[in-house]
């Protein structure tokens, strides 16, 4: 049977969203528009480069998977995110084909 790309995308989307619902981690998006803090649920993803960490030191680069369809306003580069007690700037929010997006964050 030939692969069905639409079915595969739907299945993958379901898995990612189920994971997001089952293991959500809280963060707060602060849009640059000044519209006020927006609580978001996310899952931390693997970095491009692993970081050595020490007690009391936050990660410098963080990637958060989110369900971008339910976040208003949509995150964009230049927004701020508070996560795990540290402030980060959003350097990008590339979307995938499964309904999600990855917020790329760098500590400020």
């Amino acid at each position: 049977m030939a692969p069905n790309p639409t079915l595969w995308a739907a299945l993958t989307q379901n898995v990612m969203m189920a994971a997001l619902n089952a293991f959500p981690v809280a963060a707060v998006l602060i849009p640059q528009t000044g519209s006020g803090p927006v609580p978001i649920s996310c899952i931390e993803m693997e970095d491009a480069t692993a970081e050595n960490l020490y007690p009391g030191v936050q990660r410098s680069v963080v990637k958060l998977f989110v369900n971008i369809a339910i976040i208003t306003p949509a995150p964009q580069a230049g927004d701020t995110v508070t996560y795990n007690g540290a402030n980060y700037v959003v350097t990008g929010a590339p979307v995938d084909i499964y309904g999600g997006a990855v917020l790329k964050l760098r500590i400020t």
């Binding site: 640059q32 000044g34 491009a48 480069t49 970081e51 050595n52 410098s60 680069v61 580069a77 230049g78 927004d79 701020t80 700037v89 350097t91 990008g92 790329k104 760098r106 500590i107 400020t108």
Partner: protein, 162 residues
């Protein structure tokens, strides 16, 4: 030959003395505002490896690091040229009325006058044993996350053999 670590620290001190640059690199630290212009030294066990340090640079910040020394007979008195790299990571420009981008940062580094000198860093003897730098260069880089960063390069001829 001079210790390259001494040169690295002298570059950091000179950059920190440029008021506009220090202002652009100032951020809130745990104990108040800090100027994020720092030196990297190769100290295994005390410092992270260089690639990770560059990756972890917060925005904004500048990292100064010695990346090599070229030996040769460049003139009658210069036999060493020390290469110092300056990695730039700009701050968040969103919502800033007068944002400071990479073009502005490099212009400021090359042309603004440090408070410790009467001329810009290109014409400053940052150490008595060093001649003024060769004309500096800068190039665009992408980090591991495809984020724009820049790497400037200063080359300092050493006067004689110290």
């Amino acid at each position: 030959m001079l210790n390259p670590g001494t040169i690295t620290d002298a570059v950091v001190a000179t950059l920190q003395a440029i008021p506009a640059l220090a202002s652009a690199m100032t951020a809130d630290g745990p104990d108040g505002p800090i100027v994020r212009i720092a030196a990297y030294h190769y100290l295994l066990g005390q410092e992270l490896r260089l690639a990770e340090t560059i990756y972890k640079m917060p925005a904004p910040s500048i990292l100064v690091v010695w990346e090599g020394t070229q030996g040769g007979n460049f003139s009658g008195y210069a036999i060493w040229k020390h290469r110092i790299a300056v990695y730039l990571r700009m701050g968040n420009a969103a919502g800033i009325v007068e944002p400071v981008g990479y073009e502005d940062l490099w212009w400021t580094i090359c042309n603004a006058v440090p408070s410790t000198s009467t001329v810009n860093i290109r014409y400053t003897n940052i150490l008595p044993e060093l001649d003024i730098m060769d004309n500096p260069s800068i190039a665009h880089l992408l980090d591991e996350d495809q984020i724009d960063i820049f790497r400037g390069e200063f080359v300092f001829p050493e006067i004689g053999d110290n």
